[in-house]
Amino acid sequence: MSDTPRHIVSSYEQELNQLRALMARMGGLVENQTALAIQAILERNTESAQAAMEQDPEVDALEREVEARAIKLLALRAPLAQDLREIVSALKVTSDLERIGDYATNVAKRSMRLGPTTSDISLGGLRSMGRLVQESLRLAIDALGQNDKEKALDVWRSDKAVDEIYTAMFRELVTYMMEDPRNIGACTHLLFIAKNLERIGDHATNIAERVHYSVTGEMLPASRPRGGQPNVEAPVP
């Protein structure tokens, strides 16, 4: 084997690996942001909230870097088949991750405005939802790192559980507001927090769909398994 072709191939492989490493780093960051934001609400921990918010600029910077590298790879290497799908998916996944970071930041911000009035509102639903969303996110990013279509399918199936628990929380919070108007302020924040968590779960499912496409070349059906129907089948947090 002569030196030149090997050099070219390995440097292409290296660039692709760098792109994957960046995605993993970004995934780790938003995972951590989400964990911190959830901790901030459940434990009234302003330090966690602060830490979650401080990571946002780094996530944004990483998104731009991933984009730049992906475009460069597309332009210079003209990849084909799975490599092409992987790079195109990376472009989309990076914006999903960036959105997740934004939602986590928003949850962290709201946790600081919740105030002490919420002490008699049960946070059990939020705790379960937080766990479900964190688990989906972890699986989605694992699937991304390992190009694992089975894990991607698991995430895709569990989206329904997040929807279901969101609907339940919505009802519960509305009940709190009707019972005592003084709860309205805190409950509104909690509603938005629940909505943001639901969105994070949704973006995790998006990532899983893209991983599935990148690995198999086939799109998953546009209609996801949805919650909120009479026959509830939900993996439990």
Partner: protein, 382 residues
């Protein structure tokens, strides 16, 4: 597994034989270490996770390596330098880790060569701490109700009803009921705490679920006769073994059956309960080979908004049947057991038509010896 893929490289420290020869490769040596250790290359890519690390952390390794605190520490580690990071993990099970790392020095200036990470699981310490605070918070709240009624009856017996024999007999039987409720609650809390303490450690035994299911079903015979419900047991042939703790898996089934007996029958209409043990079906159950344990009934079912929250401690369905209060911990215990086994709990229900509780458990990896033992008819080894 693209992130784990090996990069072709001329001087690959992991593929070279270890100094001193003898035919040991570095991965082979790392596998001999009794502690969990990860080896990363210069760019922070995982090159080898030793056997202990794979057994203890398995799926969690990628999530661990991409955690910002770790990846930051790895990136800033200087050649020959060391670092230590303490890390909480929330999913899949709660863990507290201490990670110590050390970088090698490569011949090339400015390069580090290998970075070794050793992992220390401090979950048990943290769990003890958390358990104590949880126990005090939950137990004091839940024990107060039966205790208040006990005190009430004692006061009545000391005062107005001191000489009233029929009332005394009636009160004492109520008091016995309340006291045994308190005892059940304490037993459940203790077993929950025990399970949580070891939740981060995968069970090492092998369990054959068919005899286990039959045993648990037989144990419920008296309760079934008393309640008038009927139980049918459906067990598929040739089920694979699962890795698990047979006592804990019995408890899962036991709790499912308890709930079914307690909540499934409606007045004047006994329920039919079906206990099934089946191999998992592709496309329906979570990915991967395994066994599904399920208990289904045709009782009143559970309203949709309660389903996702049933496994919370002390969560009760408000409009549930009166006088059937359990400890509120049964499904919480199931959740933690299933979590420890790396399985999945699914609850499905159609209101008015019944409920189904199912647990998917991954099949045990079949090493050569175990496969031989299975063929030889050794059914259970825990």
């Amino acid at each position: 597994m693209s992130l784990w893929r090996r990069r072709p490289s001329d001087a690959d420290p992991l593929s070279e034989a270890a100094p001193g020869g003898g035919g040991f490769s570095l991965p082979g040596l790392l596998d001999l270490l009794p502690h969990p250790v990860l080896a990363l290359d210069d760019e922070g890519m995982l090159r080898h996770a030793n056997e202990t690390a794979r057994a203890q952390f398995g799926d969690a390794i990628p999530a661990l390596l991409r955690h910002p605190a770790i990846s930051q520490a790895i990136r800033t580690l200087t050649p020959g330098g060391t670092a230590q990071v303490d890390l909480p993990m929330d999913v899949p099970v709660r863990r507290a880790l201490r990670i110590s790392m050390r970088s090698g020095t490569a011949a090339e200036p400015g390069r580090r060569g290998l970075v070794l990470l050793s992992l220390l699981d401090r979950s048990e310490l943290e769990a003890v701490e958390r358990m104590r605070s949880d126990f005090i918070a939950n137990a004091s709240h839940e024990l107060r109700t039966p205790l208040a009624s006990l005190i009430g009856f004692i006061e009545t017996l000391q005062g107005p009803a001191a000489d009233d024999a029929p009332a005394r007999i009636r009160f004492l039987s109520i008091m016995e009921g309340q006291a045994s409720r308190m005892r059940r609650l304490i037993d459940n809390l203790l077993s929950l705490s025990r399970i949580q303490m070891h939740e981060h450690r995968r069970p090492s035994g092998l369990v054959s679920l068919a005899p286990l299911a039959r045993r648990v079903a037989d144990g419920h015979e008296p309760q079934l006769v008393a309640s008038g419900n009927t139980l049918s047991v459906e067990i598929a042939p040739n089920l694979p073994l699962v890795a698990g703790d047979s006592d804990q898996l019995s408890q899962v089934l036991h709790n499912f059956l308890d709930n079914a007996v307690k909540y499934a029958n409606r007045p004047g209409r006994p329920a039919t309960i079906v206990l099934a043990v089946q191999p998992s079906q592709a496309g329906v159950d979570p990915s991967g080979d395994g066994v599904v344990l399920s208990v289904a009934d045709d009782g009143p079912g559970i309203a949709a908004q309660h389903v996702p929250r049933l496994t919370e401690r002390f969560y009760r369905v408000e409009d549930g049947p009166a006088g059937k209060a359990g400890s509120g911990l049964g499904l919480a215990i199931v959740k933690h057991i299933v979590g420890r086994h790396g399985g999945r709990l699914t609850i499905s229900s159609v209101e008015g038509q019944g409920a189904r509780f199912a647990v998917w458990l991954p099949r045990a990896p079949v090493p050569a010896t175990a496969a031989a033992a299975q063929r030889a008819g050794l059914r259970e080894r825990t």
